[in-house]
Symmetry: C2
Subunit: 426 residues, 2 copies
């Protein structure tokens, strides 16, 4: 297929007729495929089936704690070591919680907003408005926390190196109402980019330029989720933060939702000891503590960095062919057409596609009509609104390879139909 801008009108009309024929055939096939969410596949969650039963009746943590009884907000000592390693934080800078890192993030922001990280006077809500920087495209669940809590969101450009730090630093230095920034630093959702060393260093220094009580929300959800041997490493923000003395301004998060069981794993966070102590003081009012039995299961199952890495290699073996499949089809069908560009992530759960401006909603709607559900248009932007209506997030992990191939073929078809129609002025 030639580049859309070089094709003649008759060529485009002919192509469109062919494409619509194939579209009608697909429509008749009554597909029911779902690429909306970054869900692990059934074979992936089965990798951790040994979790249930792994305790073999031994419910004692290393220090003798009976995990079947009440007590403790920090999480088990051995879990803090294991998951602190994932974040690059010391055990005393690590808290291991319940089944959802999203809950930990919500709680940090809720506490900072209404109760204050440094006493009541420091509560963000004391000085309205409160704003957050949101690199786009980004993760819809981050944005909806801000929207729910009445925090104004300012979009920031994502580059291949992570958020545009010139823009970030400029905004933060100029506006003291900006109280935080969302980051998915490795295999970012959805672009899959890994923040460069320079971006991490500048992010670690950011609290120095920002208003007091500014927080970097470092959601390292895909910290150990590389797919290819050449996947870039992420620099340690903690190492820089220690050097700049900004640990109080950095909250790191992770979970095993995409390591063991999605929604039945263990979430964790890392920050300064001072922050954790404040956080726990708030937390004590709303929980009796995390599920320590499940933490112990996870420690016995994932054991150490080496066992964890071997386990993650099995996930990669499941996901890699799916990423390859998507990238192969996009290459074959859309490369050189001028109709779309896309990322080639080396890890994570998503591939981000940019269609021609104004076409994302239409493409997603076209796909939906023939039974291929994609993440809703705009989901990767604050308030669900993509100003250029062009970004589409593909989530290839859950379907079978065969279903994935059918879905992406159909998706490419919809991209072409929408693009040619636009070019022809409908």
């Amino acid at each position: 297929m030639v580049h859309i801008e070089q094709a003649s009108e008759p060529q485009l009309r002919e192509q469109l007729a062919d494409l619509l024929d194939r579209y009608d055939q697909l429509a008749a096939g009554k597909l029911a495929l779902d690429l909306t969410r970054g869900k692990p596949g059934a074979a992936q969650v089965a990798l951790s089936d040994a979790l249930d039963g792994i305790l073999e009746g031994d419910y004692r943590a290393a220090d003798g704690t009976d995990v079947r009884n009440y007590g403790g907000l920090d999480g088990l000592a051995e879990a803090r070591i294991l998951f602190g390693n994932v974040l690059g934080t010391l055990p005393e800078e690590t808290l291991v919680g319940g089944n959802s890192s999203l809950t930990l993030m919500y709680q940090v922001i809720d506490f900072a907003l209404t109760e204050g990280l440094r006493g009541p006077e420091s509560a963000w809500a004391r000085r309205e408005p409160v704003k957050f920087l949101c690199p786009v495209p980004g993760y819809d669940r981050h944005f909806s926390i801000c929207e729910y809590l009445g925090i104004e969101m300012l979009p920031v450009r994502m580059l291949e190196t992570g958020p545009d730090m010139d823009q970030v630093e400029g905004l933060v230095a100029a506006d003291p109402a900006i109280k935080g920034i969302w980051c998915v630093p490795r295999f970012s959702n959805p672009s899959g980019c890994v923040y460069s060393d320079n971006t991490v260093e500048r992010m670690a220094r950011l609290p120095k330029l920002a208003s007091p009580e500014f927080v970097v929300m470092w959601d390292n959800a895909y910290a150990i989720h590389s797919l290819y041997d050449d996947a870039p490493e992420l620099a340690s923000i903690g190492k820089w933060a220690r050097q700049f003395d900004t640990m109080d301004g950095i909250f790191q998060f992770g979970s095993t939702s995409k390591v063991t069981f999605a929604g039945a794993g263990v979430a964790f966070m890392g920050s300064s000891e001072r922050n954790l102590s404040t956080f726990k003081a708030h937390l004590a009012f709303q929980t009796i503590g995390p599920d320590k039995v499940n933490q112990l299961r996870h420690v016995r199952f994932l054991r150490d960095a080496e066992t964890l890495a071997a386990h993650m290699a099995k996930h990669a073996a499941h996901i890699r062919p799916r990423f390859d499949c998507v990238l192969d089809i996009l290459d074959r069908e859309l490369e050189g057409t001028g109709m779309a560009s896309w990322t080639q992530p080396r890890g994570g759960y998503f591939i981000s596609v940019d269609a021609l401006p104004g076409l994302a909603s239409e493409i997603i709607s076209l796909a939906d009509k023939i039974g291929v559900k994609l993440t809703p248009a705009g989901a990767t932007f604050p308030y669900g609104k993509d100003p250029e209506d062009r970004n589409i997030r593909l989530s290839p992990t859950f379907p079978s390879l065969e279903d994935l191939q059918t879905s992406i073929d159909a998706f490419a078809l919809c991209v072409k139909i929408a693009s040619i129609r636009q070019r022809l002025g409908r």
Copy 2:
């Protein structure tokens, strides 16, 4: 020992000298006993050791849901049936959550306060001040939620039939700032009383007398925790609420923290479908959903009402001798002395002792000095302040029978020392 008011001063002095001798002997024994918390004993939590491994690789819920993957805020269908039965709510009126019913209670109040149960205009915080009725003595964790969220607490008398409903109805009808009441309706913490049928009926009608968006917080933590065959049943508040059309004003809670593992069990709540739908809309911003794997474990283990009852009978067999031990010692040492009165609960986790006014702190401090830790004085009252300084909560479940006997002997000794000293004017 004769009644303290009938003893002569010389008699009291002689008794006190004897008591102080025994006190010094105990002090030399370097006891380290802890009766502060309502923790199940090690033998109790071991009753549920089969939980880990019970799935035997079958991670599918009855409707085919793969519990190892994302999805669902309501909890598993079969868990909603099982735990709805405990609360007396229909499955569609039941939500099964994470490991802590305290978290569910906090969330209900937080949402009602800041976001509103009937849209933003209904948020309690729109019309300050916000007040809650707190039957006393009561559960400190309930009171600290109110204190943390800035809700003013009004104490209400507890009778043997539950909260004094004349007082409750009078207050609620007179003051629209009162937005809720805390209840532990069966084996109340700490008195152990069971609300009478009339109290339950009047409580179910209470939202009709109260301001809009008033909530009865019905923490049925000990719903199935009877110890003796003559334990009174609790009337169903849901049955009455349906009759009075007040389901929107009633939130019921429970958990398996004192059924399976404390802090690693399953929490649940029941209310109108309308309330649950609002609650979930809020909840979606702060969690990816509950741990369904642990819910499935619980359903497979506890199965049905009959299995659950048989399991609870094993708990009762552990706790009953401990309650008997405490009540025997109190009878033997303090009956007829005029120094204390206490409850004789037929279930639950606590025995509530009222010392002579002004002596609770001193008794607890005397016990602490010889190595017997009791729940801090005032803990059972709002703001941690018992206006008469007389209520002491005993938690007999965790210690061994031998340790418990030593502790309660020491406690009775401290009651006598403090009482006689007070009578002698020091």
